[in-house]
Symmetry: C2
Subunit: 197 residues, 2 copies
């Protein structure tokens, strides 16, 4: 399989982390997240959103959206519960991540990495939204070792990806102790790889 | 079951539409989308994101995120394909909706409904993002009757919810003819209900 990938992207990292833990082999092709001028040419036929990660299967079919990709490959493995309600809870966290977490924390981090200096009001809105997401996550983790079913699943992979690099976006994780211990639990899972590995 | 609901919310409407088509009975409790001061009290124990829709099952467990709810209830029905790759494609469109479509089209519509008058640059950013999402949707529907598997699924429900009211957010759908005919196909499905029904 071929993964259109960016080393710095937490969304791409979710796929790389699950694939490492499942022992899935694949090729990586790096796509710039700064210069997007060739996106339509590169991804137009594969992903309507023109984003990475985009995965091309061996039979030529393509799949996009990080959380859809990890859900697909986790089905039937230990990384996705068999119980129907628990699977729905996994999806709840993954949709929370894409709507209430990623647009704040990942974007604030991207601005710093790309050297973009937005108006203070926009920076402040990203901080406010990101803090709200981290508070919600921390509150849940005060009473749970993992996000769903008390075991490591793709919900943890999905939320770990941008949470563990949130300090690169200016978010201080010391205010969220339950997140801190959860991060160490995620990192201790067999075959864990880092975002820069 | 009890649905914490807002009549104007397209996210809530997704759940109401699927439940109508599945013949599922439930109660609705209206939550204001303008005055959010009681959200923590009302939803704090049920949904970390404090948003509607939030669903409380008969056994007291709760489930949130519109697309997680409709995925859960569609499993095993005609509204979600059995084929594993097609289910992943459904999820791809639902994540596309929450990341690349709803934050632009639904928010622009909400501002109008709530009488909020944001800075022109913000309005323009919403228009630009919404048009990009509609272009991606239209391009796909030029070659397909429905979003996935050439039949009506929850991917169509998920994208229909805010697309059909996009004009209320200032988006002109006449520029997207393939979307127009797809909307009529969705409306023609058995047991369809409108957002105000």
């Amino acid at each position: 399989m071929l993964l259109y990938d960016s080393p710095v992207s937490g969304n791409c990292y979710k796929v790389r982390l699950l694939f490492a833990q499942l022992g899935i082999e694949y090729e990586r092709r790096e796509v710039s997240v700064i210069d997007r001028s060739n996106r339509a040419e590169l991804l137009g036929a594969l992903n309507p959103a023109l984003r990475v990660p985009t995965l091309v299967l061996d039979d030529g079919r393509s799949l996009a959206e990080s959380n859809a990709i990890i859900f697909h490959f986790a089905e039937g493995t230990e990384y996705l519960p068999e119980d129907r309600f628990e699977r729905a809870q996994v999806l709840q966290w993954l949709f929370f991540e894409q709507y209430s977490h990623e647009p704040f924390i990942a974007v604030a981090r991207f601005w710093r990495i790309a050297g973009i200096d937005p108006p203070p009001a926009e920076l402040e809105a990203k901080q406010r939204g990101g803090q709200a997401a981290l508070r919600a996550l921390d509150r849940h983790l005060e009473h749970h070792d993992f996000l769903v079913a008390e075991r490591y699943t793709i919900a943890d992979i999905g939320l770990y990806a941008y949470t563990h690099v949130a300090p690169e976006g200016g978010f201080d994780l010391e205010a969220y102790p339950a997140i801190g211990t959860w991060l160490t639990r995620v990192m201790a899972q067999p075959n864990h790889v880092g975002i820069t590995d």
